[in-house]
C-alpha cells in the first residue's frame, strides 16, 4: 500500500517490533516511571491520570500536562509514549515537538473530533491506535498507525473486552486467508477498510503492523491470556498502580508476558502479589460510560 514500504513507516513499525514480548505501563509521575523501568517495562505511557481515575472523576480528559511527560522522559531510558485525544492533531503535533517516542491516539481521553481520526501518515512520530475489530484496525493503519492495540475497556480491571477484541481481530484475519481473491472487494466493503490492506491481510494472515493488547489487564494471568490469543505485547493501565503492591505486580506481569505459555512459571509469577485493582462488570456499565465505543 501507499505508505507501508516507505522509510518513515518502516522506522515507525521498527520501534514497535522492538517492544514485542514486553509490557508498556501507564505511569503518572517520576516515581512510578522508575518502578516500571526497574521492573522491566519496555516502555511507559506518561499520563496525568490512569484510566480508572478518569472514569471515576469524569469531566474532559485531555493530553497530559507537558511537565509530567517531560519529567518522565528525563527520568527513564526506555521509550516514553503519551496520549492525544482522537482527532486532536494539534495535541499530537505538540507531543511530536516534545519528542515523545510514540503517540497513542486514545479513546481513554475525550474525543476531540466525532468523525475524523488524526491523519497519522504526515507525522514523523509513530502512532498506536486502539481497535475493537479488524475493520477498525485497518482503518487506523490506513491513516498511518504503526501499531494496533485492542481497546478492551480501559480502567475496568476486566479483561473480557480485550479478549473479545483480540478474538474478533484474529478470527477475521484467519477468515480472510480462506476467501477467494474476487471476494476481497466485498470484504473491504463490509469491513469499511482500504482494499489494499484487506488484500495484505488475506495474503499474510496478519496485520502489517504489530498487534498488541490493552484495556482491562490486571493480573499476570490476564497478560498471559491475551498473549496466548495472539497479542504480541501488552499495555497495562490502571492494573499496576491501582493494585496493593505495584512493584511486585509490575515484575510479575513482565515475567508473565515472556512466559505466557508456561503454566509453572505463571504460577510462580502469580504468588504473593497482594490485591489486584477492583474490577467492574462491563456488561452493567451504561453505554455512555464505555470508553471502547469512542472512535469508529
Amino acid at each position: 500500500m501507499f505508505h507501508l514500504n516507505g522509510e518513515e513507516f518502516r522506522l515507525k513499525v521498527g520501534l514497535a517490533e522492538m517492544l514485542k514480548g514486553g509490557v508498556i505501563m501507564d505511569v503518572t509521575n517520576v516515581e512510578q516511571a522508575k518502578i516500571a523501568e526497574a521492573a522491566g517495562a519496555v516502555a511507559v505511557m506518561a499520563l496525568e491520570r490512569v484510566p480508572s481515575d478518569i472514569r471515576k472523576e469524569g469531566g474532559v480528559a485531555r493530553m497530559a500536562n507537558i511537565k509530567v511527560i517531560e519529567d518522565i522522559m528525563k527520568t527513564v531510558s526506555i521509550p516514553v509514549m503519551a496520549k492525544a485525544r482522537i482527532g486532536h492533531f494539534t495535541e499530537a503535533r505538540i507531543l511530536e515537538a516534545l519528542d515523545v517516542d510514540y503517540i497513542d491516539e486514545s479513546e481513554v481521553l475525550t474525543p476531540a473530533d466525532e468523525e475524523n481520526h488524526i491523519d497519522k501518515i504526515v507525522f514523523k512520530t509513530p502512532f498506536v491506535c486502539g481497535a475493537r475489530n479488524l475493520g477498525e484496525a485497518l482503518r487506523r493503519i490506513g491513516e498511518g498507525a504503526a501499531m494496533i492495540r485492542t481497546k478492551g475497556e480501559a480502567g475496568s480491571g476486566n479483561v473480557v473486552e480485550a479478549v473479545r477484541h483480540m478474538r474478533a481481530i484474529v478470527r477475521d484475519m484467519k477468515r480472510l486467508t480462506t476467501v477467494g481473491k474476487e471476494e476481497l472487494y466485498h470484504e473491504a466493503k463490509q469491513l469499511q477498510a482500504p482494499l489494499e490492506l484487506v488484500e495484505w491481510v488475506a495474503e499474510h494472515g496478519a496485520l502489517p503492523v504489530p498487534n498488541f493488547s490493552a484495556g482491562g489487564i490486571a493480573t499476570p494471568a490476564d497478560a498471559a491470556l491475551v498473549m496466548q490469543l495472539g497479542a504480541q505485547a501488552v499495555f497495562v493501565g490502571s492494573g499496576i498502580f491501582k493494585s496493593s503492591d505495584p512493584q511486585a505486580r509490575a515484575v510479575a506481569i513482565v515475567q508473565a508476558a515472556k512466559n505466557f505459555d508456561d503454566p509453572a512459571k505463571l504460577l510462580e509469577a502469580s504468588r504473593s502479589l497482594g490485591d489486584a485493582m477492583p474490577g467492574l462488570d462491563v456488561s452493567k456499565l451504561p453505554e455512555s460510560e464505555l470508553l471502547s465505543t469512542r472512535g469508529w
Partner: protein, 190 residues
C-alpha cells in the same frame, strides 16, 4: 543450529532473516535451550528489559559461559548486552566484546533513521555486498573498540558493525531489511 534469544524484542524478525539466509534456527528462552545451539543471536529490543529477564530466569551466568566458547551476534540491544562497558546510563552487560557503548546516543525515536552505508573492504571481500542498508532505531553508538576488535561498517566515523574474534555486534537492524549478508557473515563463524 543457530539460536535466537527470545526473551523480548524482534526475535521473530531475526529468526525469519536467518531462515532466509539458509540457517536452521531455534528460539532460546532458558539456559537449558542454550545447550542445543552452536551460536546465538541476541535481538533488538529494550536492553533494560532483557537484562531483567536474564536475571529473573537465572540466565546471566549461562550466557557468559556460552560466550566463552560459542559465537554471539548482537543487534542494538544485543550489542549493548555484549559490550564491556555501557553508559547513558551505565548498566550491567556480558562483557563478551571489548567495546564501549552509549545507549540512545542519537536521541529519541524522531532521530531514528535508515542509511545506505558503504562497508569497509574487509566486509565487501567476505560477503560480496558493496553496500549495507542500516536501520537505526533509538540506536546506541559504539564509542570505543578495544584490542582485537575490527570495524566492518562505520557511519559518520562511528563503528556500527564490529567483529571481535567469533562475536559480532551491530548497532543497526539487518533483520529489518531483505539483505542477509550480515547474517551470512555470522553464520560463517559457526
Amino acid at each position: 543450529m543457530v539460536g535466537v534469544l527470545a526473551l523480548q524484542g524482534d526475535f521473530a524478525a531475526h529468526e525469519a532473516a536467518l531462515v532466509r539466509a539458509g540457517a536452521n534456527t531455534r528460539l532460546v528462552r532458558n539456559a537449558d535451550e542454550l545447550g542445543d545451539v552452536g551460536g546465538l543471536v541476541i535481538p533488538g529490543g529494550e536492553s533494560t528489559t532483557m537484562l531483567k529477564l536474564l536475571h529473573y530466569g537465572g540466565m546471566m551466568d549461562a550466557l557468559r559461559r556460552f560466550s566463552e566458547t560459542k559465537p554471539i551476534f548482537g543487534t542494538c540491544a544485543g550489542a549493548i548486552l555484549l559490550a564491556e562497558k555501557v553508559c547513558n546510563p551505565s548498566q550491567e552487560s556480558l562483557g563478551a566484546m571489548a567495546i564501549s557503548v552509549e545507549r540512545n546516543a542519537y536521541g529519541r525515536q524522531n532521530e531514528s533513521r535508515i542509511c545506505s552505508l558503504v562497508p569497509e573492504e574487509e566486509f565487501i571481500r567476505r560477503t560480496g555486498a558493496e553496500k549495507v542498508e542500516a536501520v537505526f532505531i533509538r540506536a546506541p553508538v559504539i564509542r570505543k573498540v578495544g584490542q582485537g576488535g575490527r570495524v566492518l561498517v562505520a557511519y559518520n566515523g562511528d563503528p556500527v558493525l564490529v567483529e571481535q574474534g567469533m562475536h559480532l555486534a551491530a548497532t543497526f537492524h539487518p533483520e529489518l531489511t531483505d539483505d542477509v549478508s550480515v547474517q551470512r557473515l555470522f553464520l560463517g563463524k559457526l
